[in-house]
């Protein structure tokens, strides 16, 4: 177990966490402003990945592919907000769960209809591929490093949007009192569509970025969606800061747990059984983390309300 391996795994965990943050930020923003639980967020992630793979396949340009992912997810988001989601604000959570579950069924099978069941592949462009040497002589894939940087940059942009712009003020006001800001002459319907589209675009971007290191296939969004839920539960619903901290915690726990728990068990068990127990426990590590946070703070680390 060398220091190099540990640093490499920490970077992997960060990369995973940062991508989870892109998903969780949209979810938590949508919940914070509109009070809506959106199961179809994973579908928007998938739409982003498929749009990117299709455009990259047609044009060969990775930048265009990312643009397509952002645009496709944002447009799909705005469309479902206008047709379906809008009717769900202020309704029971059960209705929201069911309607967005129905959207998942429609989007997943619809995508399978259009693209078929075989996974698509999105290639990492030449200028982002290959390893780089970090200080200390660590070889690390440049693309994964780019993902960390991109995620942090988007996080910063989101912070700027919410804390420093006029739209951000409206969003924060919408979280606190929707009647009041409507009374002040702000078109709340348009604001909600905008917030939903921003969340969708973030999910689509994450899908496209991750799609280049995994395969692009139907059903890719839901496992990430559920992890993003874990992130939000840990961080506190409605808190972007909580989503960021929670995402990094979950990313690091999952990645490091998968590597180190089997090793840990080898110290006092025979190797075969240790690998089995360790990997079984590693697959549960983030949920155990979630349970611990819940026992300590039922509303999450930065959550204000239940």
């Amino acid at each position: 177990m060398s220091a190099l391996l540990i640093i490499e795994q920490v970077l992997n965990g960060l990369q995973f966490g940062v991508m989870l943050f892109l998903m969780a930020a949209g979810l938590t923003l949508i919940f914070g402003v509109m009070g809506l639980i959106n199961l179809a967020h994973g579908s928007l992630y998938m739409i982003g990945a498929f749009a990117a793979a299709a455009v990259a396949g047609a044009t060969g340009s990775f930048i265009l592919a990312l643009g397509a992912a952002l645009a496709a997810a944002a447009i799909a988001g705005a469309l479902i907000e206008i047709t379906v989601i809008r009717r769900l604000y202020g309704k029971a959570h059960l209705d929201q769960v069911l309607a967005t579950f129905a959207l998942i069924l429609i989007f997943s099978e619809g995508t399978r209809w259009v693209f078929g069941s075989f996974p698509l592949f999105l290639d990492i462009p030449d200028y982002l591929s290959g390893p780089v040497t970090l200080p200390g002589g660590i070889q690390y894939p440049f693309y994964r490093l780019t993902l960390i940087a991109a995620g942090l940059l988007v996080g910063l942009g989101l912070w700027f949007l919410i804390e420093r712009t006029r739209v951000g003020i409206q969003i924060r006001a919408g979280e606190n009192d929707r009647e009041m800001i409507a009374a002040l002459g702000i078109d709340i319907t348009r604001l909600y569509t905008l917030v939903f589209a921003i969340g969708a675009a973030l999910a689509g971007l994450a899908g496209a970025l991750v799609g280049a290191i995994q395969s692009v296939q139907v059903g890719m969004g839901e496992p990430v969606l559920i992890l993003a839920f874990v992130v939000i539960v840990i961080g506190g619903i409605g808190s972007i800061k909580g989503a960021f901290i929670g995402a990094l915690l979950v990313g690091l726990t999952d990645t490091l747990g998968g590597i180190f728990l089997p090793e840990l068990f080898k110290l006092f068990m025979e190797p075969g059984a240790a690998t089995q127990t360790g990997s079984a426990l590693a697959s549960m590590a983030i949920y155990i983390l979630m349970s611990l946070v819940l026992i300590w703070r039922p509303t999450g680390l930065f959550g204000a309300r239940a």
């Binding site: 099978e109 559920i226 697959s283 949920y287 819940l294 039922p298």
Partner: protein, 327 residues
């Protein structure tokens, strides 16, 4: 508008008549389809206690379905390989006896429901939905990584487990068993709804604060409901695994948790026979639409959207002209 009791009676009679007709016409596949609907209905009736009466939107009930399935799978696996099951200090033999398997499935599901309930009932609303979903995923990944019992490939049981005096491999006999269990579960559910506990639970869903002021603990009521609900769904899981003679991690999947809720919504939330209608309709759609197109989930999604947005009471609400309970 048709009275709810009449709808229930017609449904009950239909569930007996269809397999009997299929028996006469010698179509064992139809009997198996109805059995599938009956077992899914048992699972959904279980969930309806937590969801419809208790107002607990559990998006992780596949945990109990899967636990029941694996209780059957593990016990039968040890029986068919003649190996003992080693539980740390305790070593027990596997079994192929359905009553014992049902007991194990119910007990383990109830125990896990108690643990998950204790943790997730600390929260409510959206948190509860997300947490139950997350626990479901935890069991899913655990089952995948647990290679002793087949891991991702699942576990096949070659001969259906036995019930004293019956040949369970004959479809109509296994249907009979499942149907009797559904009837018992429905009867218990009806008694529970009318009992002081059921009334208190109903009140705890609507106005927890008032329940508290009369000296009852809403959290405890909900926990009991969650445990009962999980146990019934677990029993259904054991039957489902026996129907297919196969268990796999998909029994733990979040899609299944979602589908169980869908069954209830299609039928009507909080209605005694709501889950039964839902399960029958679901299996019919799955078979009929699934035969027409591989992409039948698109249409299921559209139907579900229409019900959520325009017909809140589900089929039962449409037939009887009354909305279901509000969750």
């Amino acid at each position: 508008m048709i009275p709810e009791r009449l709808v229930n009676a017609i449904l009950f009679a239909g569930l007996i008549a269809v397999p009997l007709c299929a028996l006469v016409a010698d179509e064992p596949f139809t009997i198996t389809l109805v059995t599938r609907a009956v077992i899914l209905a048992i699972a959904a009736v279980g969930l309806n206690i937590a969801l419809g009466i208790g107002g607990l939107v559990s998006l992780g009930h596949a945990v109990f379905f899967g636990l029941g399935g694996y209780a059957m799978g593990v016990l039968a696996f040890h029986a068919q390989t003649y190996t003992p099951l080693n539980l740390g200090p305790l070593t027990i033999a596997g079994t192929k006896s359905m009553p014992l398997i049902w007991l194990a499935a119910t007990a383990i599901s109830a125990f896990v429901a108690w643990i998950i309930g204790l943790l997730s009932l600390r929260t409510s609303g959206v948190y509860f939905i997300m947490i139950t979903l997350a626990f479901g995923q935890m069991f899913f990944y655990f089952a995948i990584s647990w290679s002793t019992y087949g891991g991702e490939d699942g576990l096949s049981i070659y001969v259906r487990n036995g019930f004293p005096g019956l040949n369970t491999l004959i479809p109509i006999q296994f249907f009979g068993l499942s149907f009797i269990i559904l009837s018992v579960v429905l009867f218990l559910n009806a008694r529970l709804q009318a009992s002081p506990f059921g009334l208190a639970l109903n009140a705890a869903r609507q106005v927890p604060a008032r329940v508290e002021t009369v000296g009852l603990n809403p959290m405890r009521l909900k926990l009991v409901a969650f445990v009962v609900s999980g146990a019934i769904t677990g029993l259904a899981g054991a039957l489902f695994a026996d129907l297919n003679r196969f268990v796999s991690p998909t029994m733990f999947s979040w899609q299944l948790s979602g589908e169980l809720i869908v069954l209830i919504i299609i039928g009507g939330v909080g209605r005694l026979f709501g889950p039964v209608i839902g399960a029958c309709l679901f299996v019919t759609l799955e078979h009929w639409l699934g035969g027409l197109t591989d992409f039948w989930h698109v249409f299921l999604g559209l139907i579900l959207l229409a019900i959520v947005l325009f017909a809140r009471g589900g089929i039962m609400g449409l037939l009887t002209g009354k909305e279901g309970t509000h969750v």
